[in-house]
């Protein structure tokens, strides 16, 4: 299978999205005869060119980080460029990956619904969407070995069957909300200031610590 991969992250090569895609594609390439090509949406001046490639693809994976509860603006700009192909993509199979820093998958569910609708609008076939929350930034050590193995396994099974293994997809987003014991723990960690500490460290490293509560617009 030839897979066209669209990375919709504004951070392109240094994105957490790329980090997850790398593991997925490593597994995918274990399938005989599989190949892929990666296209970066951000920085592309000719969205219509990217759209044309998608319309001519058999299978494509579109991946992006959650920005303000949905796709980044640049990814939306790519979706807008698909307008000429409404109803004409019946030979294309689409799947998606949405990753977020927020731990709960529920933050990504509305955009997941959007993606299914977008696929329908294009007349394409919907393979599914991988939703993953709690993705740790690449600059803070990146994804754990366990997570990258999960993505490899998902990529491997996708490379063989052309579909998402529902158990593996579910395993990446086991429950939409944090359980109440976890929420209680998070609340406690917040009260003792532990939760802020990770960001405080980054603030100190970047010279913003003393101004961290600034309100420049008042």
């Amino acid at each position: 299978m030839k897979l066209m991969v669209y990375n919709g992250s504004p951070r392109k090569e240094s994105s957490n999205t790329k980090m997850l895609l790398d593991s997925f594609l490593k597994g995918f390439m274990r399938g005989r005869g599989n190949s892929y090509q990666i296209l970066y949406i951000a920085g592309e001046n000719r969205m219509s060119h990217l759209a044309e490639i998608l319309a001519g693809s058999e299978t494509a994976l579109i991946a992006f980080p959650l920005y303000i509860d949905c796709m980044p603006a640049v990814t939306m700009s790519f979706f807008e460029s698909l307008e000429p192909y409404i109803g004409f993509m019946k030979n294309t199979r689409l799947c998606f990956l949405v990753q977020s820093g927020f731990p709960e998958p529920l933050h990504s569910r509305p955009v997941e619904r959007y993606l299914e609708k977008l696929t329908k609008r294009l007349g394409a076939q919907y393979i599914g969407a991988i939703i993953r929350g709690g993705v740790r930034s690449a600059s803070r050590g990146g994804c754990s070995r366990k997570l990258s193995v999960r993505f490899e396994l998902l990529g491997e099974s996708f490379g063989k069957t052309g579909t998402f293994d529902s158990e593996l997809v579910k395993g990446l987003a086991p429950r939409d909300r944090l359980s109440s014991p976890v929420l209680q723990t998070v609340n406690l960690l917040d009260k003792i200031g532990f939760l802020d500490r990770m960001w405080e460290k980054s603030l100190k490293e970047n010279g913003g610590f003393s101004k961290r509560y600034d309100r420049p617009y008042l």
Partner: protein, 183 residues
Amino acid sequence: MKILILNGNPDEGNVHFDKYLEELQSSLGETGHDVEIFLLREMDIQYCDGCHGCWLRTPGECLVSDHTQLIRKSFVNSDLVISASPIRMGFISSLLKKGKDKFIPLVLPFVRVENGEIHHKPRYDKYPLLGFILDKGLDGDNEDVEIISQIAERNAMQLGTHLSFVSLTSKEEGELADEINGL
């Protein structure tokens, strides 16, 4: 009320949309509201590139000095902010989304539990009520409106405020103005 309208219509040929908002502005002005419209397509708005500089280096402010500084300043000093866009490919325009992606400096990087979910802590004490005006255009349908509303609800939750309305341009602007007067 101080009301900000973000006009995310990318197409200057779509005069009906702009006109609708202008008429709404004058109706609301007549009942004593102070209404400002930002025409996003004529503003310099750079994409958020996810650098986190607005949290870590110049907290509360984007490292890129484009016109979104004006938008954010007006945003935090308004009582109601109405995002307006024709529906394109089932969503708000990427132009409007480009402006919204730059709202990240309005919250803190720190997180807390709110409504049983993890959300960012607020940077400001108070945020405006939010509203949406959508135009279904040729291709938009009720499901699109529903999905946009769901995402808008989440936006409001992230900012610790409320989504007051999602309205369509098929509604008379006078009727919408009355509803806004009643908020």
